[in-house]
């Protein structure tokens, strides 16, 4: 409406440009060679990374005469120790996923990107890859020099060794992944004799390629630009979340420590060790930012320096923004988000526990024939047709008997008992139920159909269906 535009605040724009200038956007033009320093969080990181040993070792566990955990996709069944999960029970998988999604949310709201910093495969594999790099090529400054040096036999030897190792780890990662879906020992045999199915080779190839690419080359670029969880977690953090934070009140104004001079400076001596050790190449002193995976390696670096200059540790420490700014923090149980997250997690666990404890060995589904709903017989009786689908979830074949109840005069025909129900399969049978016309009491009579294992009556399943007759 107003033709006159507001005068542009040039100073504000200049400030914006200045601020943008201050932020370095890491688009991967420079390889980050982070320094490795010993420390408390470094040790914790190694331990948390060991969670992934389960990924490599899990498939070799045995349970009875089969693999303890196997996700048999062609056979459409999952075995987890003595539990067998068939497609009918996969709703529990949804609850498992819900639980982990909420666990991520809850942990992130409490302590930031713990998953990113300590457990994520991208972080762990990159960590291992850079560890190998350091063992072969030396400290970061040497690595930078080697990268810039002209190609020599020495450089070629080191680089080739490194990449061969990377690819081998990728290969092992891929193979270990496939071992979860088939018998591990047999599949290893197939790999070694080059007889594994094409699907397995393809999976191994994809995993090897992406492990090599992501942990060998892209590294922090994956966290910056590819990973959706990195972005999702950013919005779960609030003022009370404890994060690796630079205590600017204590550290500023920063300045180099000079011998013998009385300086009116903060505790930060601007040694840039926190930047040097950062695997994503950020400066934590600029505050919380997208590149921070909260791995806390800068805490180790800063503490080591503070020890050297005789200043108290914790200039960079796990602290919430509220704490740094001197606000009182709320106890855990008074934060509604935490309560809601925990509530949903408990509901999910409850569902899974319910599901696992009520996993039936036999399952019965009955489909009542709709076309026609009922058939009049020549003796005046009414016949209904049912299709029984009996699922045997156990590992042995069963013979089941049939029990149909709901009317005194009903007569069952169409099958010869006992019915064979092979292990791990759905068997279909068609039965006919007949009731004399004069004894029909209603247009619809509820029927209960039950199957019982002949060897062990504990194995049974029932289904409530309906008997249809002509309108009364």
């Amino acid at each position: 409406m107003n033709e006159q535009t507001k005068p542009v605040d040039l100073q504000a724009l200049e400030d914006l440009y200045h601020e943008a200038d201050y932020w370095h956007v890491n688009t991967g033009d420079q390889t980050i060679h982070a320094k490795r320093m010993a420390g408390r969080y470094r040790t914790i990181k190694w331990f948390s990374a060991m969670v992934w040993l389960a990924f490599f070792l899990g498939p070799y566990l045995r349970w009875g005469d089969r693999q303890a955990i196997v996700f048999d996709i062609p056979g459409r069944q999952f075995h987890i120790f003595d539990i067998t999960i068939l497609p009918q029970d996969v709703w529990m998988l949804a609850l498992v996923l819900l639980f982990f999604a909420l666990l991520l949310a809850a942990v992130t709201s409490l302590a930031g990107r713990v998953y990113c910093g300590y457990f994520c495969f991208q972080t762990v594999w990159t960590d291992v890859f850079t560890w190998i790099e350091e063992k072969l090529e030396g400290a970061p400054n040497k690595r930078v020099k080697l990268d810039q040096a002209p190609w020599t036999l020495y450089k070629a030897r080191i680089k080739i060794t490194k990449h061969v190792l990377f690819i081998l780890i990728g290969l092992l990662t891929g193979i270990s992944f496939t071992l979860w879906f088939a018998d591990a020992y047999e599949l290893w045999g197939d790999y070694l004799t080059l007889q594994a199915p094409a699907m397995a080779w393809g999976t191994v190839a994809v995993f090897t390629f992406f492990t090599y690419l992501f942990a060998g080359f892209m590294r922090e670029q994956v966290c910056f630009w590819l990973c959706p969880y990195a972005r999702i977690q950013g919005v779960m953090v609030d003022r009370e979340t404890i994060l690796p934070t630079y205590d600017f009140a204590r550290g500023e104004p920063r300045g180099k420590l000079k011998k013998g001079e009385e300086q009116n400076l903060g505790d930060c001596i601007d040694c840039k060790q926190c930047v040097a050790v950062c695997p994503t190449g950020i400066d934590i002193r600029r505050g919380q930012q997208e590149g921070c995976i909260t791995c806390a390696l800068c805490l180790d670096a800063c503490d080591a320096v503070m020890d050297k200059v005789n200043r108290p540790r914790g200039l960079i420490r796990y602290a919430s923004l509220a704490e740094i700014e001197g606000e009182p923090s709320h106890p855990l149980l008074k934060r509604p988000r935490v309560l809601v997250y925990v509530g949903i997690m408990l509901a999910a666990i409850g569902g899974i526990v319910y599901g696992l404890t009520t996993l039936a060995s036999l399952e019965l589904k009955v489909l009542h024939e709709r076309q026609p709903l009922y058939v009049m017989q020549s003796d005046g009786s009414v016949q209904n047709k049912y299709e029984l689908k009996i699922l045997n979830k156990t590992e042995h074949d069963m013979q089941v008997t049939l029990k149909v109840s709901g009317h005194d005069a009903l007569h069952v025909s169409g099958v010869e008992e006992p019915l064979a129900v092979p292990a791990g399969r759905v068997s279909a049978y068609t039965i006919f139920v007949r009731i004399p016309g004069e004894q029909l009491t209603a247009e619809r009579i509820p029927l209960t159909i039950k199957v019982i294992d002949t060897d062990n009556a504990e194995f049974s399943a029932e289904y409530n269906s309906m008997f249809f007759g002509p309108a009364q």
């Binding site: 724009l13 440009y17 279909a428």
Partner: protein, 284 residues
């Protein structure tokens, strides 16, 4: 720090808005550019391999020679390969032998559903539920018999029963009496004047002395609860007696003809249909 993302120093396109906002010429992230180039390469490879560039009536063929029709044929071949062992067995077996084999009869019931839907259910209804004038196939009442061989014959040769029209030979009262007797028989009772007519008019010649029917001729059993022509009332029964069924020269006669399928369907298909119908619920 002073890299290409430094807006103060970056080269720009020369476009400036509001006196201050410059459009920079920064590159997108490298991974993004690589993905862009890879998709370009993918497109070229795809265009070479698959049909893609539209021409006037057609499109380029692509070196793989892939077409949707070929793909469909491959899928059909695949399913036929799965069916082949069953089909080969069924070809050489009699319908009764198929029925006796649990696996084969299950296969037949599953695979003949389409055949039944195409050929049978237009008259006999889905699932053999029957329609007015067309017999129910799921019950235990069979005009010509419910054995697997008879069912196969019925499909193969077709059926057309015949009942003469009695309208010219009987007066209204007689028709009514006979109809009442027929209705009473179904309930196990009788209507005396009608019973006399039943004998004197020679009904028992086809329907049996006690009205129990005769499957050789397709003459229905009159003592059961199933009615060939519905509704089961005096009006309808009188009509049938007066005009007959498939009676030649009688214009209003009831039509009841099952066509022969032996020229339309293969021997194997007829066997399968016989098994399917048998398994609907009434096979004997």
């Amino acid at each position: 720090m002073n890299d290409k993302n430094n807006p103060a120093q970056s080269p720009d396109t020369g476009h400036v808005w509001d006196g201050n906002l410059r459009e920079l010429t920064n590159q997108p992230p490298r991974w993004w550019m690589i993905t862009l180039y890879l998709s370009g390469i993918f497109m070229v490879v795809y265009f070479i391999l698959y049909p893609s560039i539209p021409l006037v009536n057609d499109s380029t063929e692509g070196v793989l020679g892939w077409t949707q029709m070929k793909r469909m044929q491959e899928s059909v071949e695949k399913i036929q390969a799965i069916r082949a062992p069953y089909e080969n067995k069924i070809k050489d077996l009699s319908a009764a032998a198929i029925l006796a084999d649990q696996d084969l009869s299950t296969y037949t019931v599953r695979s003949a559903k389409v055949l039944f839907g195409d050929r049978c259910s237009p008259c006999h209804g889905g699932g053999g539920a029957g329609n007015p004038g067309y017999p129910v196939l799921a019950d235990d009442n069979w005009l010509y018999g419910g054995s697997i061989e008879t069912i196969q014959q019925s499909i193969s040769n077709g059926r057309a029963g015949m009942m003469p029209a009695f309208g010219a030979m009987m007066n209204e009262q007689q028709l009514s009496d006979l109809a009442q007797h027929v209705l009473a028989m179904a309930k196990g009772e009788e209507h005396a004047p009608g019973k006399e007519l039943f004998t004197s008019m020679g009904c028992g010649g086809c329907h049996g002395a006690q009205g129990e029917g005769m499957q050789m001729m397709g003459a229905p059993n009159l003592t059961d609860a199933i009615w060939r022509f519905v509704p089961a009332n005096e009006e309808s029964v009188k009509y049938t007696i007066a005009h007959g069924v498939n009676a030649s020269g009688v214009e209003q006669t009831r039509q009841a003809r099952m066509p022969s399928f032996q020229d339309q369907l293969s021997e194997t298909d007829i066997k399968k249909l016989a098994v399917y119908v048998y398994k609907l619920g009434g096979g004997q």
